[in-house]
Amino acid sequence: MEFFAWSMIAAGIGMGLGSFGTGIGQGLAIKSACEGVARNPGASGKIMTTMMIGLAMVESLAIYVFVVAMIILFANPFTAQVVELLNK
């Protein structure tokens, strides 16, 4: 049973760590984009597009963590083995 408790803890902490780093990264990107638009409002369209691509790239890291967390929670590959060991 402990295995499943640790799985949940791992998923939660992993998601927290993943979104922590991604949050800092996206914040830095948006900060620079805001500064750029403030200095040169004419380039806002181009800055917006570039920022969107960059944000999507950064965000995919958090998405990978999310997918791994979902695999740990709902599609854990070791569930069958652990249940088998428990039933012994």
């Binding site: 691509i53 999507a56 995919s60 998405i63 990978y64």
Partner: protein, 231 residues
Amino acid sequence: MTHPFLVLQWLAEKLHLNVLIHNADSLKAVVYAWLVMAILIALAFVAGRSAKLVPSGLQNLMEAIIVGIEDLIVETMGPKGRAYFPLLASFALFILCANLIGLIPGLYPPTANLNTNAALALTVFVMTHIVGFKEHGFSYLKHFMGPVLALAPLIFVIELIGHIARPLSLTLRLFGNMYGHEIVLMIFILLVPFLMPVPMMLMGVLVAFIQAFVFTLLAMIYIAGALEEAH
């Protein structure tokens, strides 16, 4: 995390079409992907049936969307990119509609399933290399070689990994966003069924537009990368 109620499954049950009731996740996505396709085809047919020189109503809206996508393509890929307009516009419209129907209660967004997204991303992947070979012939392989011939084997491996990571990241980004949104919505509905999910649904509109935009933009950039000359 399953939907409590889905319109097409309910309809199939009422009509005794047992083939469609198997609640396999991928089949659900396929059924709703066909629904999105039907909506888009019907919309295009209605808008284009009586095309006038001075557009009004639906035709006006569709023309605005088409011109917007074309401007974006020309801005990112240059005038050469116009040839790939049908593919890229289909991606944009299909993904946008597929994301947005998830916000209607009783409908399931097909992009919240890994298989739909993998199909879309693999189309981009294959199309990129077809375009590259068509444009450059066999000198397209220079894209993978890097500037110095002596380092070619090393760079080839790195480029290969980079190219294989592209469909993976395209798939997982769209899937993670849509599936994550679904799960958050389900959890909020379980906790507080009244009014509480509305802010999350508003954010879902934003996510739907941004993800459709990002997918299309990345597809444009990958195809533009295959079009340009090797350095």
